[in-house]
């Protein structure tokens, strides 16, 4: 994390449905801008090199490690963080099932894990266990051994499929 070069500039994007403009160095990490400038601290830094997935956010529907994304690349995109996953004060179905099935222990990987799971369910509404394992392989959890997470994701898919 060296000192970003060049000049600060205005970069506009949509975060959790809100049009937002930040003034930042273009090569600053999206993760830092979200956390420091926008107060969206749900994205966490676990490793700073794209291995752990704790900083996962959705950019135009794609799952990215925000520690690897220069904020300049976020210009004009639609970003969803954990804070914007559920509408109003209700919980997203994945948040409900993570809670019910013990899929969040220490909670530090949870925002990224839930976003990775939500990305999976958007692409594959009825995932197999193998689909779930593969989709979450970029998000490390040291607490659960993943078993409860698999159940929570499978149950969320079932609930979404139910009328």
């Amino acid at each position: 994390m060296g000192k970003p070069s060049a000049q600060r500039r205005e970069i506009a994007f949509v975060v959790n449905g809100e049009p937002t403009t930040v003034t930042a160095f273009p090569m600053e990490r999206l993760l830092d801008v979200l956390r420091r400038d926008l107060g969206l601290t749900g994205a966490k830094e676990g490793c700073g090199e794209g291995e752990c997935g704790s900083c996962s956010v959705l950019m135009d529907g794609a799952l990215v490690n925000s520690c690897l994304v220069p904020v300049a690349q976020a210009a004009g995109v639609n970003i969803v963080t954990i804070e914007g996953l559920a509408a109003n004060s209700s919980l997203h179905v994945l948040q409900e099932t993570f809670l019910a099935y013990g899929a969040a222990q220490c909670g530090i990987c949870t925002p990224g894990m839930i976003l990775a799971a939500s990305h999976l369910l958007d692409k594959t509404p009825s995932p197999t266990l193998a689909n779930i394992r593969e989709a979450l392989a970029g998000n490390l959890c040291r607490c659960t051994g993943y078993m409860q997470i698999f159940r929570a994701v499978a149950e969320a898919a079932r609930r979404r499929a139910a009328p």
Binding site: C47, L91, G102, Q105, I108, I114, A137, R142, Y146, E155
Partner: protein, 765 residues
């Protein structure tokens, strides 16, 4: 038999709260991203700290130079000279400096601190401090340390030794039909909590030091800062923030980083945040102690252990820190769940010039139990019986005496656990099938077993010394709040303690809260370690809750009250008398005898028992081992929260699989070379087998509602079960972990006829 699997959708029992899977207390904040970890906090005027560390293993500091190209007047610089009190991280022996003064004893030892309002300027500034050393010879392995060619700590490089002697082991060798010897080693393991170590410190000349941090033991940090700053107790305040995993890795190290941030805060007059990045956390902070265990066992021809000698040695790194305590637990668990008529256990923790090793889930037991469960397989091969039968013939049972001569009084039945685990794993059918299938093809499969135990709570006299105090407060709104320094870091402290109080008082779970651990608010209920929270602290919380109700009944509350009447009585009490707090302090149960000198007596109030079965597959093209199925069956007393309890087991098993197969710390001259998640590999969602968890409840009188400790147990069994399964698949012994593909390749390249007895069978005298 009362063995039950766990499902995520347990239906809540209407009558009981204990035993049901209520929602995690802080769960909603965690799934919505609202939970506040220390790096999510920003204080007004806060600046950022960084640490200049030793680049060598051992030497004298000759000069410190500052790069003239950096504007140092903008930085806050702290050295050992700035420490107002004692330059030690107070813990047990107080041998570790907070900042090195004249000498360094390991790579990455902290020497100097920097702070600046712009965190981006810190890495270059750290590089801009150059330290000139006179290097001294260093030692890096247990064997080098034992040789004592260089004395790097004390007079003999030895932090601590224990000697356990039960009976006259010297008399046993002549009676043996077989004498079986073996040596087993385990590597270092990084805790790898996903949230790195971090704190924020504030200093005020009037109020003293305040710390907010990711930590397990607020009162450990409190004690360390008192002596570092030479302040009275009320001038140090430690607050635990939401903690993103710990596993022992935030037991002692937070005292160091809190000291650093507080020194910078004192010198700068501003709040200071230090949050390590992953590389710094991995290379500079504690890990699981590497170990070497040697067994020499006298066995009868019918497979009974007659006695033996166990030498257990751990590598503690450069300073004593917690090594004596880790060694203690490893020593007491070294005999496994077996009956030793006579035994001599010699244990020692030695110094090397590496960063101090520390607490990690299991705390010495995974090391010595790996050795025991490998050695029992070797005994089976020498005797010519199945390892199942050997285990069965030697299992401890109610009434048995352990290696420390503790008589087991609680109901237990390891044979039954073994049967149930084998049945759940489909062991017998698979064993036969794999033996046939392994004759063909490049994929070899095997089944492996581990039987083990884990003692709950502090060892021996430890709980008496801790003298834990807990409080329960009835509040003006009629709710009840638990006051403990026991911390939540994922394992479920908040939830289970609230369940215990709700059940005790007959109140809804939602009416019970738990205070944020803050040393100005909560009493010292002891550290959150050693699988002690539910069993020891839970029981105390239960008695404090009973005391609270008694106080209200003394004030007129009917014994047959409803929750509404309880709440009304609580409100009225607070209105007319002020705060309503009841406390409970630990009292040693009667009949507990422990001799610290002879290391003999009641080592633990209760043991949890387990049998794990691993199924592995080894690909002889890539030499990769994968675990295909894993059965974890345990007896942990009453399961208070099935979902959380299962989560403890699956998480521990996953860490155990990593310990066995993936997580290799690569050392060079005392420094970890692979300090990244890219090259230190923990299991991902794609790597793990189904982990199938079963609990047996046999009743226990020690903990709240009959609970025993659970958190560390699952770390003990996976590695030996997997090594045993690999041996079965390949026919080569795996006596050293972690075992990576290159190690499997090596083992097969040196494949020799397996397990010739160390001594030829002899006729019994």
């Amino acid at each position: 038999m009362p063995v039950k699997g766990v499902q995520g959708d347990d239906i809540l029992d209407q009558k009981h709260i204990v035993g049901t899977s209520v929602p995690r207390k802080e769960g909603r904040d965690k799934v919505t991203g609202r939970a506040r970890y220390v790096d999510d906090m920003v204080l007004p005027g806060m600046i950022y700290g960084a640490t200049v560390r030793s680049t060598i293993s051992r030497g004298r500091i000759k000069a410190i130079r500052f790069d003239p190209g950096i504007e140092w007047s903008e930085f806050v610089v702290v050295t050992a000279k700035d420490i107002p009190g004692k330059n030690r991280v107070a813990l047990i022996l107080d041998d570790q400096p907070c900042l090195a003064e004249d000498t360094v004893n390991h790579p990455e030892e902290p020497i100097l601190l920097l702070a600046h309002s712009n965190p981006h300027l810190l890495p270059k500034a750290v590089q801009g401090v150059s330290i000139e050393y006179e290097e001294l010879p260093a030692v890096y392995t247990i064997e080098e340390s034992e040789r004592q060619a260089e004395i790097i700590w004390g007079t003999d490089n030895t932090f601590k030794t224990y000697l356990v002697e039960k009976g006259d082991v010297d008399a046993v060798w002549d009676k043996a039909d077989y004498i079986v010897e073996g040596e087993y080693t385990t590597g270092a393991q990084e805790q790898l909590y996903i949230e790195n170590n971090g704190v924020i410190a504030k200093f005020d000349p009037a109020d003293g030091v305040t710390i907010w941090g990711s930590l397990q033991c607020p009162y450990y940090v409190h004690k360390a800062l008192l002596s570092l700053f030479n302040l009275p107790e009320e001038k140090v305040r430690v607050v635990q923030t939401e903690t993103g995993g710990a596993f022992g890795g935030k037991e002692e190290y937070p005292s160091m980083i809190a000291g650093h941030a507080a020194l910078l805060a004192m010198k700068s007059g501003r709040p200071v945040k230090i949050v390590y990045d992953r590389a710094e956390d991995m290379v500079a902070t504690t890990k699981r102690h590497p170990s070497r265990t040697r067994h020499r066992t006298a066995v009868s021809k019918d497979g009974r252990i007659l006695g033996g000698e166990i030498d257990f040695t751990i590598d503690g790194g450069a300073y004593a820190t917690l090594s004596s305590v880790v060694l203690s637990r490893g020593t007491i668990h070294a005999g496994g769940p077996y009956n030793w008529p006579t035994v001599r256990i010699r244990a020692k923790a030695v110094a090397t010039n590496a960063p101090p090793q520390g607490a990690f889930r299991g705390f010495g037991a995974p090391q010595s139990l790996f050795a025991m469960e490998r050695h029992i397989e070797k005994i089976a091969k020498v005797v010519g019986l199945s390892s199942i039968e050997i285990r069965r013939r030697n299992f401890l049972e109610t009434g048995s005496s352990t290696t420390t001569e503790q008589t087991l009084r609680d109901p237990m039945n390891l044979g039954q656990l073994l049967d149930a685990a084998l049945e759940s794993a489909g062991y017998r059918e698979k064993k036969i099938r794999f033996a046939a299938e392994n004759k063909l093809g490049k994929r070899k499969r095997g089944m492996g077993i581990a039987a083990f135990l884990h003692g709950a709570g502090f060892t021996g006299s430890g709980e008496r010394y801790l003298n834990s105090l807990v409080g329960v407060e009835g509040r003006a709104d009629g709710s009840v709040c638990i006051l403990v320094s026991s911390t939540e870091f994922g394992q479920g402290t908040n939830t289970v303690l609230c369940q215990i109080v709700a059940e005790t008082l007959g109140l809804p779970y939602e009416h019970i809260a738990i205070a944020q651990p803050d040393t100005t608010v909560v009493p010292n209920s002891g550290p959150t370690v050693a699988s002690r929270t539910v069993m020891i602290v839970g029981k105390l919380v239960q008695s404090a809750a009973v005391g609270l109700r008694q106080t209200l009944m003394d004030g007129g509350l009917s014994p047959e009250h409803t929750p509404e009447q309880f709440q009304a009585a609580c409100r009225e009490y607070v209105e007319s008398h002020g705060p309503l707090r009841c406390y409970a302090r630990y009292q040693e149960p009667p009949g507990v005898h422990w001799d610290d000198q002879k290391y003999r007596g009641e080592a633990y109030a209760a043991f949890a028992w387990a049998v794990y079965v691993a199924e592995v597959s080894v690909d002889l093209t890539t030499y990769q081992v994968s675990v295909k199925d894993f059965v974890a069956l345990q007896e942990v007393g009453k399961v208070l929260h099935p979902v959380l309890a299962e989560g403890q087991i699956t998480g521990g098993v996953a860490q155990g699989i990593g310990f066995a197969l993936y997580e290799k710390v690569v050392w060079r001259n005392g420094r970890m070379l692979n300090g990244q998640m890219t090259n230190y590999i923990m299991p991902t969602s794609a790597d793990l087998p189904p982990i199938r968890v079963f609990f047996q409840e046999m009743g226990n009188v020690h903990g709240a509602f009959g609970a025993k400790g659970i958190g560390e147990l699952p770390m003990d069994g996976p590695a030996p079960a997997i090594a045993n399964a690999i041996e079965e698949a390949l026919g080569v012994p795996i006596d050293s972990i972690p075992v990576l593909p290159e190690d499997i390749f090596e083992a097969l390249a040196h494949d020799e006829p397996l397990a010739a007895p160390i001594s030829a069978p002899r006729t019994a005298l």
